[in-house]
């Protein structure tokens, strides 16, 4: 085990996979000469050369399309977006091409590609650069959507994503890149896609979350609930949003009878709303309270630091929701 930053874990995953497979390459804005807008690819140009670490013009539609073409031709591209908010300009490439080529070609083409970059609210980037794109991509058949919340998950899940034969939407957070954590060293380490992690076992309430809020507010809220309120929490970190590990959630809530979903998306048609739709029927007879969904307020994301904080899920909001479903 080595303690490394989230960005280092991502770099380690890409480096290991590029060494393992000549077909893997990295393409995106500033990934080569500048060593990455967020220094994720630092040193990779020196190591792998300009044929495999490729800078692009500022045109997401062009370089994501280029990546899809390369993937259809047998390579395994990693396409880095500076922000997932920018993929609104290449939605056609991701949704119509990446997600559908395999289906539309009757299986003649596969699209083994990873699109990765920072997603969600990353501190004072304002309304247009703070989009949480997970609910947009998680609803598209043909895509796999992955969202790590620790450096170890970043490495293990990214390696599996690169090896995956279908297009993977890999959602990071600019705010997490400097977070440190223990990461297994061995190059054989991977984490399976489509499998949620029961981070903590508990008996009173199941909290379901993923990505940055797990680290930012959910784990502190769980500590408060357990230590200050005597509520035993089972924490499920989803890791993959599509395909959703529905069974792990169901098994957990059948045990706890109460469920709180937390994300930073907007509530209406949000990621949590989609999760709720998948579990409420199988869980209906097991619920002692309505499922609570803690999400961001439904407003454009404010630039102001305090307003931005206020619109996002907080420890207090999660504690209150958990207490409510526990009637505590």
């Amino acid at each position: 085990m080595a303690v490394m930053q989230f960005r280092e874990a991502l770099r380690a995953a890409m480096t290991e996979e590029m060494e393992r497979d000549d077909g893997v390459f990295l393409i995106g804005e500033e990934v080569a000469q500048y060593n990455g807008a967020y220094k994720v690819s630092e040193g990779m140009l020196d190591r792998f050369g300009k044929d495999r670490i490729i800078d692009t013009p500022i045109s997401e539609a062009a370089f994501s399309g280029l990546g899809i073409g390369a993937a259809m031709s047998g390579l395994r591209p990693i396409v880095e977006f500076m922000s997932w908010s920018f993929t609104l300009v290449c939605l056609d490439q991701l949704v119509n091409n990446a997600a559908n080529v395999r289906y539309m070609s009757g299986g003649q083409y596969r699209v083994p590609i990873v699109f990765r970059g920072g997603n969600g609210i990353a501190h004072q980037l304002a309304a247009t650069h703070s989009h949480r794109m997970e609910s947009v991509y998680s609803r598209i058949p043909g895509l796999i959507v992955v969202c790590p919340s620790t450096p170890a998950e970043a490495k293990g899940l990214l390696k599996s994503s690169i090896r995956c034969d279908d297009p993977v939407i890999f959602l990071e957070s600019e705010k997490m890149l400097s977070e440190k954590g223990e990461v297994p060293d061995e190059s054989s380490f991977t984490l399976p896609l489509g499998v949620a992690d029961v981070e903590r076992e508990g008996s009173h309430v199941t909290i379901v979350s993923y990505g940055r809020p797990v680290q930012r507010v959910v784990r502190p809220a769980v500590d408060a609930l357990v230590n200050e309120h005597g509520i035993s929490v089972e924490l499920i970190n989803l890791r993959t949003l599509r395909p959703l590990d529905t069974q792990t959630i169901i098994n957990s809530v059948k045990k706890t009878n109460r469920c709180v979903i937390v994300d930073e998306d907007w509530g209406y048609c949000g990621m949590g709303a989609g999760i709720l739709q998948k579990i409420q029927k199988p869980l209906f007879d097991y619920l002692d309270a309505p499922i609570e969904y803690v999400h961001s307020d439904e407003i454009p994301v404010p630039f102001n630091h305090y307003l931005e904080e206020a619109m996002m899920p907080s420890v207090d909001r999660i504690v209150a929701a958990a207490k409510e479903v526990c009637y505590a």
């Binding site: 009878n257 209906f284 007879d285 097991y286 619920l287 002692d288 309270a289 009637y327």
Partner: protein, 458 residues
């Protein structure tokens, strides 16, 4: 076609009627609208009126006879019809309708009533006294829709009791556990929001021997103990605590009681005026809020009663703020949430806070500190119409005020008897530390304040 007189439904709850007295006998002439008999219903004795004119051919129910609503009572021969033939036919059971069920003949009458077959209408009878104001047509012709409207209506089938008002709020999990244990959820008190029955309610109910001995603790259904049976009830925790506390109080605190009548006529009018002004804010002050306010302000003037007594130390502690306990009944018990610093609160705040405390109290969601450290308590049974009662002190407090109903009474004012809205309150005091005159002083101040609520401003 002879006209039948059937037993009408003369009240909403009537299912059968007793024929008390016939005014006519067979062979007598009757006019349309004439009262032919007296009928006793479940509520009163009322005259039975014939819709049709003619000759009474056959009397099917003798005096003292009891028949279901809609059953044949008599038959009238109209025009040239032969009463003897009709009687023979009916007496033999020819056209006679069965005596029950009550609804059937009327229903048929309604179906066949439209003008297409006017002479097939089954005439019925109505009651002058029971008339709902419709004017009945005088004769057997053209018994159309207007007639039907005034026909007595057959009773509706008994409601099954599954209406929204009977809906039991229950979480799906609690429902499943109840089903698995064959538990009647209407007996389980719910502790969730709006009384929702949740897992812990069902589990604790089952733990306490659910559905058998502890049935009496359920609020939803008043358990009936059948004749020849008996029922043993294990006290709930709350009941046990109440029993111990009240016994201790009555055994160790020497109570004495003083009652005073208070004229709240002006106060009631003030309340109405204020409520009109507060309508926009959706605030509705209750009489209890004014009493709370007045008691708090009076207690500040009489600190001897706004106190707690530690008998072991021989100390009385008087308080500069009023923490007012308000006795609230809950299923199988009572709780006393405490309005803190009520002497500093306005009426709107008193209303909002007491509503909140009482609601959460009934939902069993009060925190311990919201039920402790009262300096005085009010108990009111006014809404039950109780005029006057004596309450048991909640030690270490030294007094409790029992508030009766505000009601109109005849009172002597000067030398005249006038109608005033009056309310009696009874103060219970701990005679170890409060004397009769002290208590009387307090009551006099309270009376002055409530009779002249402007004093609250002073």
């Amino acid at each position: 076609m002879p006209a039948e007189i059937t037993m009408p439904q003369l009240s909403d709850t009537m299912t059968e009627g007793t024929l008390i007295k016939w005014n006519k006998k067979e062979g007598d002439k009757v006019k349309a609208g004439e009262e032919v008999a007296d009928v006793e219903t479940d509520k009163a004795t009322m005259p039975l009126e014939s819709y049709d004119g003619g000759t009474i051919a056959y009397i099917a129910v003798q005096e003292g006879g009891k028949v279901a609503v809609g059953s044949l009572v008599a038959v009238i021969a109209k025009g040239s019809e032969n009463p003897a033939e009709i009687k023979a036919k009916y007496a033999a059971g020819g056209n006679a309708k069965p005596a029950a069920p009550a609804a059937a003949p009327l229903a048929r009458a309604a179906e066949s009533a439209p003008a297409a077959q006017p002479d097939k209408v089954t005439a019925t009878a109505t009651l002058v006294a029971a008339s709902r104001g419709e004017i009945h047509e005088p004769d057997g012709v053209g018994h159309g829709a207007t007639r039907e409207a005034s026909h007595p209506v057959p009773p509706l089938p008994q409601a099954k009791g599954n209406g929204e008002s009977h809906r039991v709020r229950v979480s799906p999990l609690a429902k499943r556990i109840a089903t698995e244990n064959k538990l009647d959820l209407s007996r389980v008190p719910g502790s969730g929001p709006e009384g929702r029955i949740v897992q812990r309610d069902v589990l604790s109910y089952l733990e306490n021997g659910g559905g058998k001995e502890s049935a009496a603790s359920a609020p939803a259904a008043t358990p009936v103990v059948l004749s020849g049976e008996k029922q043993v009830i294990t006290l709930t925790k709350m009941r046990t605590a109440i029993a111990a506390a009240l016994l201790r109080s009555k055994q160790t605190v020497p109570h004495f009681y003083e009652t005073i009548d208070i004229d709240v006529t002006d106060l009631s009018q003030l309340r109405e005026r204020l409520n009109k002004r507060l309508e926009k804010e959706k605030v509705r002050l209750s009489l209890a809020d004014f009493i709370t306010k007045a008691v708090a302000s009076t207690l500040i003037q009489h600190p001897a009663l706004n106190a707690r007594f530690n008998s072991e130390k021989g100390e009385i502690t008087r308080y500069g703020d009023v923490n007012l306990g308000i006795a609230v009944s809950v299923p199988d018990g009572l709780i006393v949430p405490v309005l803190r610093g009520v002497n500093l609160l306005g009426l709107k705040e008193i209303r909002a806070r007491s509503e909140d405390l009482i609601k959460r109290g009934r939902d069993q969601r009060l925190k311990r500190e919201e039920m402790s450290e009262a300096t005085f308590t009010i108990s009111s049974l006014g809404t039950f119409g109780i005029r006057d009662f004596s309450a048991i002190i909640n030690p270490p407090e030294v007094g409790i005020l029992a508030v009766g109903a505000a009601e109109k009474r005849a009172v002597v004012k000067g030398d005249a008897i006038v109608i005033r809205t009056m309310m009696s309150v009874t103060l219970s005091c701990d005679h170890r530390v409060v004397d009769g005159a002290t208590a009387a002083d307090f009551l006099r101040s309270l009376k002055e304040t409530l009779e002249e609520p402007g004093m609250l401003l002073v």
